[in-house]
Amino acid sequence: MTRHKTWWHTALGVVLTAVMLFPVYWMINVSFTRTQDMRKTPPNLFPVHGTLAGYVLVLHQQLPYLATSLAVGLGTVALTLVVAAPAGYSLAKLRPRGGGMLRFALVIAQMIPAIIMAMGFYVIFLRVHLLSTLPGLILADSTIAVPFAVLIFMAFMTGIPEELMQASKIDGAGVLRTFWSIVIPLSRNAIVTVSLFAFLWAWSDFIFATTLDASGSHQPITLGIYHYIGNNNQQWNAIMATAVLASIPAAILLVVAQRHVAAGVTAGAIKD
């Protein structure tokens, strides 16, 4: 292909990406817009009289929400890893009888609409007093990630060479020891991938937050934004500033996980 043609492709690609990302740009633009310019016609396409007023307001009002989301996200990651990593190991390497059925259940579990789970959780949490608590929200949020996480771990761990498992066994290691000292260290990439997605999903969750934590004293950032929209629909710079801050984990995931997802499982394990 000639250089001229490639140049043309790149230009078109940039234009398409710009169109696709326009809403993201607009969110950032509005977050810097002064309140008095908000309903101006024509709207400012660039933040010409840029202001940080929206962000100042957010830092005054939304920090507790961001902290709650951080805690819920980290709790969800921990719970997801503890439940999913051993399961992935077993399904990938230990050939449990009935494992196929469990895999089927996991695939089906991913298809259940969260709004239905939310209603079921509401009934249960009401009875066991987990409504509007952080552990309750963490439990509910983890259901978004656990089936996915088991399937990812299984796929990664299937790629670990059988020779490594045999060698570990010959050295006298039991299944538990092999899991902890061989499989887990080799699965670093799967752990990173699962953690990032579990965190992102818990961080982004709105359904479980609004059904199970609507009257809680600790509420996540998604509810923070939701209350903002409901209460003061004039201060769109503050709403969009919160939205920008709430998007940071997604940006980090995009930069970091790109590399990790692509990296091979056993790269570096058996070089020779």
């Binding site: 259940i112 209603m119 249960i124």
Partner: protein
């Protein structure tokens, strides 16, 4: 033969094989295999308990809700009377049922068609590997990774009747201000547009990976045979992508049936019921009113599950068939 069996046989032949009679050997092998099974299931114990407690139990309580007549009091204290399918019948007779069903189908169908078409066009485009194609393709993932409340509130503001940038852009092509979110004619279209935007990256990723799996030689062969670009796509690429396309569409169907956040945040299913779907209707019944109607809400939810599972089982069948081919 499984590795466990291989190991068992090797052990027997190498060491004490001569001394042990065959029957004892096989029973020892069976014991070893049983021990392996115990270990395998020990590792599966957490996830099994988890699935029972946090999937099966909520689903069971949802079915229980839908078959009994719950009031706020019996909801807390228990003892609601069993009413069979009364909640389901109440839903069918509800004036919201038909619009909600229609909107669910239109929202899902239109979203799927546009997401898939755009994703396919972009996948073919990015498969050309031009300069910056990797970076731009990664940037296309952004809408998919953003929290839905972020996307939904951004679109809400862009579609605002007076101050929205969409109406500002529309006036250049001579279109008067449209009440995107507050007019019953446009509310469903507005949430569908936002949902298409969120769904394009997913289709792009799946179809792009499908394209990567097609050997490059096939396209060269088509070119040598004198096929044009358009012809190559429809006669060669598209048929080869059929299994991947089916998976993208069916997963898209399952995900789109579930969509709740975007619609609820942008329009709350309104105005009146103009953009309500099964997902938002269920939430509206259970949590959106002062007096919750948990039974009918759970019944709507269970109808939604049946739709999602039907699509899901169909997906598994398609996937298995494409794997065996």
């Amino acid at each position: 033969m499984t590795p466990a069996q291989v190991r068992g046989a090797g052990h027997g032949a190498g060491g004490t094989a001569q001394a042990v009679p065959p029957a004892a050997r096989s029973s020892r092998r069976r014991a070893r295999r049983r021990k392996d099974q115990w270990a395998a299931w020990a590792f599966l114990l957490p996830v099994t308990a988890y699935l029972l407690l946090f999937y099966a139990y909520p689903l069971y309580s949802n079915i229980d809700l839908s078959l009994k007549n719950y009031t706020v009091q019996s909801f807390v204290q228990g003892g609601a009377p069993f009413t069979g399918f009364a909640n389901y019948l109440a839903d069918f007779r509800d004036p919201t049922f038909v619009p909600a069903l229609e909107h669910t189908l239109v929202f899902t169908g239109v979203s799927l068609v546009f997401q898939f078409a755009a994703g396919m066009a972009l996948a073919v485009f990015f498969a050309r590997h031009f300069r910056l194609s990797g970076v731009l393709r990664a940037l296309f993932l952004v809408p998919w990774l953003l929290p839905l409340i972020v996307s939904a509130s951004t679109w809400s503001w862009m579609l605002d009747s007076e101050a929205g940038v969409i109406n500002y852009a529309a006036h250049f092509i001579g279109v008067g201000p449209v009440n995107w979110l507050t007019s019953p004619h446009w509310a469903l279209a507005s949430v569908t547009i936002a949902n298409i935007w969120i769904g394009i990256p997913f289709n792009l990723v799946i179809l792009y990976s499908g394209l990567q799996a097609i050997p490059g030689g096939i396209h060269e062969a088509a070119a040598i045979d004198g096929a044009g670009r358009w012809q190559t796509f429809w006669r060669v690429t598209f048929p080869l992508l059929r299994p991947v396309s089916a998976i993208a569409l069916l997963l898209g169907l399952i995900y789109t049936l579930k969509v709740f956040d975007i619609i609820w945040i942008m329009t709350r299913g309104g105005p009146v019921d103009a953009s309500t779907t099964f997902a938002t209707w269920s939430y509206q019944l259970g949590f959106g009113n002062l007096l919750p109607a948990f039974g009918p809400a759970a019944a709507v939810g269970n109808l939604l599950i049946v739709m999602a599972l039907a699509a899901g089982l169909f997906y598994l069948r398609v996937q298995r068939r494409s794997e065996t081919q």
